[in-house]
């Protein structure tokens, strides 16, 4: 087990190194840099001013020197300064992380708490009207883009209640606090819940046909015990895998949801930083996300062993 852990940790480091190289060079391949954008916005170019600014920001140096400067700083905890706001990158990134983390956590919670029970119900009631209705709901969840769903929610809120749930950094009531996160989390988590539901349903259907389920029923176990204790426990493995993958994909959904609901989280900030070619922000933020995703995958792998006694990580 210990050797497996060491091997996994080493592989994680190699993966993160690879990601750092890819992020750094991909950003440089994209045409234009911050200086181009600043001058494009001003509609003029003074070559001397441009050269001064490139020198000041250090983007005139050889790429390998720039990479070393960034990665060595990253390892030392020095994340540099944002090219745009001229504030320390960490100061810009840190306050936004809890906002996105709350949103992502709630979206995942929504996804699991809605998707798993509905998936079980759909499987247990296979072929009934309820099953068809739930399958339609799950299909709509997979088909609706989250930005469109978000706009739909906002428009309906304004039309029906004259109010709209956009971000409020200092909510006065619990209802406002709830609306601040819950509504956008539901908008972004809907797709994920639909996917979870479909995976749970198909996995449950497979398990429910197993001999041991029939045995459990023959023993006189209640339907709830059969479905949730015996069947779900064995059907949950692919669901965990999907939720793990969804956690990584969630960032894509959060970008549009944060934009539509005007939530100042890291996902929207990342898009803005890419638009400005704000390298220190993009590089550090993507690395942070990469670290989270790599560790999330690692955790999911570890969870397999917890949920499925057949899995053992041996040396």
């Amino acid at each position: 087990m210990f050797a497996y852990l060491v091997r996994r940790l080493f592989l994680m480091l190699v993966t993160l190194f690879g990601i750092s190289v890819v992020i750094f060079f991909l950003l440089r391949i994209v045409p234009g840099n911050i200086v181009d954008i600043l001058f494009a916005a001003a509609g003029y170019v003074d070559p001397a001013d441009k050269a001064n600014l490139e020198k000041e920001l250090g983007i005139d140096r050889p790429l390998i020197v720039q990479y070393w400067h960034w990665i060595s700083g990253f390892l030392r905890g020095d994340f540099g300064y944002s090219y745009v706001s001229e504030k320390p990158a960490l100061q810009e990134i840190l306050p936004r992380i809890p906002i996105t983390a709350r949103l992502a956590g709630l979206a995942l919670l929504f996804s699991a708490s809605i998707g798993i029970p509905l998936g079980v119900i759909s499987a247990v009631k296979q072929g009934t009207r309820l099953d068809y209705a739930l399958r339609v709901v799950s299909l709509s969840g997979l088909s609706l883009p989250s930005f469109w769903l978000g706009l739909l929610i906002l428009t309906a809120s304004v039309a029906m209640f004259g109010q709209m749930p956009i971000f409020n950094p200092n909510p006065a009531t619990w209802l406002e606090a709830f609306a601040t996160y819950a509504v956008p989390a539901a908008a972004v988590g809907f797709r994920s819940a639909a996917l979870t539901m479909r995976i749970t349903r198909s996995s449950m259907l497979e398990v429910l046909r197993q001999d041991y389920i029939r045995t459990a029923r023959a023993k006189g176990a209640s339907e709830v015990a059969v479905n949730y204790h015996h069947a779900l426990k064995n059907a949950i493995l692919p669901v965990i895998t999907v939720i793990g993958i969804e956690a990584a994909f969630l960032i894509g959904g959060l970008i549009v949801t944060e934009t539509v609901f005007n939530i100042p989280g890291v996902a929207r900030f990342l898009v803005e930083a890419i638009r400005w070619r704000d390298y220190p922000i993009v590089q550090n933020l993507v690395m942070f996300i990469a670290v989270v995703v790599v560790f999330a995958n690692f955790t999911v792998d570890m969870l397999y062993a917890v949920f499925d006694p057949r899995i053992r990580y041996t040396d």
């Binding site: 045409p31 234009g32 840099n33 181009d36 954008i37 600043l38 001058f39 494009a40 916005a41 001003a42 509609g43 003029y44 170019v45 003074d46 001013d49 001064n52 600014l53 000041e56 944002s82 745009v84 706001s85 001229e86 504030k87 810009e92 706009l151 906002l154 428009t155 809120s157 304004v158 039309a159 004259g162 109010q163 709209m164 956009i166 934009t259 539509v260 609901f261 005007n262 100042p264 929207r268 900030f269 803005e272 638009r275 400005w276 070619r277």
Partner: protein, 532 residues
């Protein structure tokens, strides 16, 4: 007796009515004006930017030497009023502009304002000081200024190479605040210090900008508001919905398009909305240094093919203006009259006849029904650029030109234009000041950084200088019209239309004036108040 009673009753009623009006109309102190902002400005330094995304939130932090009267929609020479200057005078054959400065004014950090601040601000803009701006997009505005001299702490003079009456107009723009000498340009980008009615509190990129009332403002009794808060909402649909839901007191100025205006009025019927020209001209940039547009006939044919009214009808439901380089009257001060405009090829009302003429020119150049000219129409990947480009491509089809849309990301647009890597481009040109000097020198002068097409006509260049020095407004207007006509005939940068856009606010917001011939100069907000 009866008549006396009637008279007394009338007098009492009149008094009551007057006092009611006066009471309702008297500005009230207090309240935070909540407005959404369309995007996150790169920094907080007006001098280092070239977008009104900077002027709107940061103009209230500063004062100029002079300023356009904030409660009049049209910017004119005769409504320029003193700001940090108490008075001004042209001396030395109109080659020196001297300002007497206001005394007792303090910067927001408590330091006193003096003539040294004016001198160092403008020397920095002219590129003559030790401290440098990271970017200085309006350096060319001060090309005729030789030097700045001070006489004591409260008098400053701009010494010019030749008379330039429009300098005063440039100094009155929202783009021309006075900066403090003791604060570095770098600090001004992150924490601006001014003398204006509102103090800077914080700027959270992509999130919000907050200003608070300057209780020590030199203009007593102003501002009325306790502060202004801008929430940055780049998504226009979300922003408009939030305004309709009452989350904001005002939309971002000139940011409500004509189709969106209808939505606002239907969902928030009490909202006050105005539509004004924003002095932004949509135009075509033509690469005349390479075939096929090095051929003047093809350029002229293209200009003749334009159906300007169709653009305005499709994009603005008829609410736009046809004009030359300068914004047409009545909102514009210097635009050609309609009769003169219609004598320019392509501006005549008979589009069909114009296009027949264009076809003949195309045939002369070797193109026709069997041999179309294939061109790429490059433009920025933003709706206000992309939409007219699509209409342009459609219109060019009528004269044997097959256009292909080439959308370019903002970061690459200007480098692409600068290296002449385009055939024709759809471009927008905003004018900070409704004055020919700003427009002519910036966009059509030989060697100007913003003369994207490299149009260079030495004869016209001489005329630029002649009109620039002319102090008689009627004479100058005539000169300007002739120049503008010539620029359109040369197809230097064909102007398609001048846009109009909307601004809305809730009915309790008072004292807002939206400028009608520039979208850069009317955001001091010291006279704005809220009746609630």
């Amino acid at each position: 007796m009866r008549s006396v009673r009637a008279l007394a009753a009338t007098a009492a009623l009149s008094l009551l009515a007057f006092s009611t009006i006066a009471f309702a109309g008297a500005p009230k102190q207090g309240g935070i004006l909540r407005m959404y902002h369309r995007d996150s400005p790169g920094n907080a330094s007006i001098h280092e930017g070239a977008t009104y995304s900077l002027n709107v939130p940061f103009m209230p932090v500063f004062n100029n030497l002079v300023i356009y009267k904030q409660d009049e929609a049209q910017n004119r020479m005769d409504n320029i009023i003193p700001d940090l200057a108490e008075s001004w005078a042209w001396v030395n054959d109109n080659k020196t502009l001297t300002f007497k400065l206001r005394q007792g004014v303090k910067w927001h950090d408590g330091k006193p304002f003096t003539s040294a601040d004016v001198k160092c601000t403008f020397e920095m803009l002219m590129g003559k000081s030790q401290q440098k701006f990271r970017q200085n997009p309006r350096k060319t505005w001060y090309e005729q200024v030789n030097d700045i001299s001070t006489n004591g702490d409260f008098e400053v003079s701009f010494n010019l190479k030749r008379p330039q009456p429009s300098l005063l107009a440039l100094l009155a723009s929202g783009y021309t605040p006075v900066y403090p000498c003791h604060v570095s340009p770098g600090d001004m980008r992150t924490h601006p210090i001014g003398t204006g009615p509102f103090k800077f509190v914080e700027f959270k990129a992509n999130e919000s900008i907050k200003l608070t009332r300057n209780t020590d403002y030199w203009r007593k009794g102003r501002p009325y508001l306790d502060g202004i808060e801008f929430t940055i909402i780049p998504n226009r649909s979300t922003a408009i919905l939030a305004f309709v839901a009452g989350k904001f007191d005002m939309t971002f100025p000139t940011e409500v398009s004509i189709p969106l205006l209808k939505d606002v009025k239907s969902q928030a019927p009490n909202a006050v909305c105005v539509v004004e020209p924003n002095n932004v001209a949509t135009n075509i940039i033509v690469n005349s240094s390479a075939p096929p547009f090095d051929n003047i006939d093809i350029r002229r044919a293209m200009a003749l093919a334009l159906d300007r009214k169709a653009f305005i009808s499709i994009m603005f439901e008829g609410q736009g203006d046809v004009g030359g380089t300068l914004l047409p009257p009545p909102n514009g001060l210097w635009g050609m009259p309609k009769e003169m405009l219609e004598t320019i090829p392509g501006y005549g009302p008979d589009v069909k006849a114009n296009r027949e003429e264009a076809k003949k020119l195309m045939q002369k150049a070797g193109y026709g029904p069997d041999k179309h000219l294939a061109v790429k129409v490059s433009t920025r990947n933003i709706p206000i650029y992309r939409d007219p480009a699509v209409i342009l491509i459609d219109q060019l089809k009528s004269i044997y030109i097959d256009g292909e849309l080439d959308v370019v990301e903002t970061a690459n647009w200007f480098p692409k234009v600068a290296r002449k890597d385009y055939m024709i481009g759809l471009n927008l040109t905003g004018n900070a000041v409704d004055d020919p000097d700003q427009s002519f020198y910036e966009n059509y002068s030989c060697g100007s950084e913003r003369n994207y097409t490299n149009y260079c006509n030495k004869e016209i260049e001489k005329l630029f200088d002649v009109q620039s020095q002319e102090t008689d407004i009627a004479k100058r207007k005539k000169l300007v019209w002739d120049i503008d006509k010539k620029l359109q005939e040369d197809v230097a940068r064909p102007i398609i239309f001048h846009a109009r856009t909307g601004t809305c606010w809730q009915p309790y917001v008072k004292g807002v004036t939206v400028m009608s011939n520039s979208s850069y100069n009317g955001y001091r907000y010291e006279d704005v108040w809220m009746d609630k």
